[in-house]
Amino acid sequence: MKLFLKFDFNTVSKKILESKFNGLNLEYKIIGFGEVELLKKIKPEEYLALNDSLNDYGIEIVESQKGILVQKIKDTIIDMVFNEDIIVNVKSSVYLSEKLGHSYGYLSNLFSEITYSSIENFMIIQKIEYSKQLLLNSELNLTEIAFKLNYSSVAHLSTQFKNTTGITPSAFQRIILKRRDIAQQKAN
C-alpha cells in the first residue's frame, strides 16, 4: 500500500521550529512563515547549535536584511496563491508593495538579485505548483482549477503550464499517475 500525503508546509515547519527552539530553551515568537522573533539575546554558541540543528531539516537562518525581505516577498506570494481567503482585487505588484512597505521596483530588483529570478516568475511557479497539486490530489478538472486560481480562461492556465513546465497539464497528470503505478507495482 502507498499513501499519498499532502503537506501543509507551514504547520510542519512551525512544529519543527517549536521543537528546536524549545529544545534549546530559547524564548521566541513565531511571526509568520519563515520569521521568528527572539525575545532575549542569543549567545554565539546557542546560535551555532540552533543553526546546526535547523540545518538538519534544510532550514537555514537567513542572515542578511535583504534575505529577510526576499523571504517576506515569497511568504506574501505563497499566501496570495495558496490562501483562498486573501482575495486580491488589486494587482499583485500593488498588493506586495503595500504589504511590505517598499516600492515594487525595489522589491523586484532585490528579488532578482538574491534569487536569480523574478517575482513574476516566482508567482507563476507557485501558481503552477498549486495547480499541479490540485490536478493530482483533487477531483477538480482543469477548468475548475483555472477558475480557482483566478485565471481568465482554461487556455490561459494551459498555456502558462506548458510554458513553465514544457509539458501540458494532461501529460503531467499522465506521467505522475504512471510513476505512481510503477511505484505501486514495485511495492507489491
Binding site: F9, S13, N121, T165, I167
Partner: protein
Amino acid sequence: MQTDYIHIILADDDEDDILFFTDAFDELKINTKVNTFKDGEELMDYLNDDQSRMPNVLFLDLNMPKKTGIECLKEIKASHKMSEIAIAIYSTSASEEDIEKTFVLGANIYIKKPGDFKKLKKLLSEVVSINWQYHTNGLNKDNFLLSL
C-alpha cells in the same frame, strides 16, 4: 550542509557538448561548480562513492558508452542516497514519447540540446533557477517536471 555554490554534474561522452556546457556555465553569472564524466560507468562510480558530494543537478546524456543515460537514471532512482538529486536529461533528440518515458522513469527535467549557444545559456540558467526554487521554496519535488 548548505554551501554557497550550486553543484552540477554533466555525464556526456561528447567533447564538444562538454565544452559548450562548461563554457555556458562559465559565462553565466551563477555560482556553480561543474563536474563532468565521460560515460555512465564513471558517473555511477562517483555517485556510489560515499566520499562524493551529491550534486544539486545532474545532467545526463542518453547516448553514452558503457552505461546509457536510461540505465543511470534507473540506478539513481533506485538508490535512496541519490534520491535528492534533480535529474536533467540532456539529449540531442526529443520526441514527446521519449520525454514522457524518461519522466515516468523519474527524470525531472528534459533538455533538448539546442543549436544555439545563447539559447543553451538561457536553458541552463532556467534549469538552475527553477531547481533552486524547488530546493529553497518547499515545493513538492515529486511534482517537479520541466521540459525545455
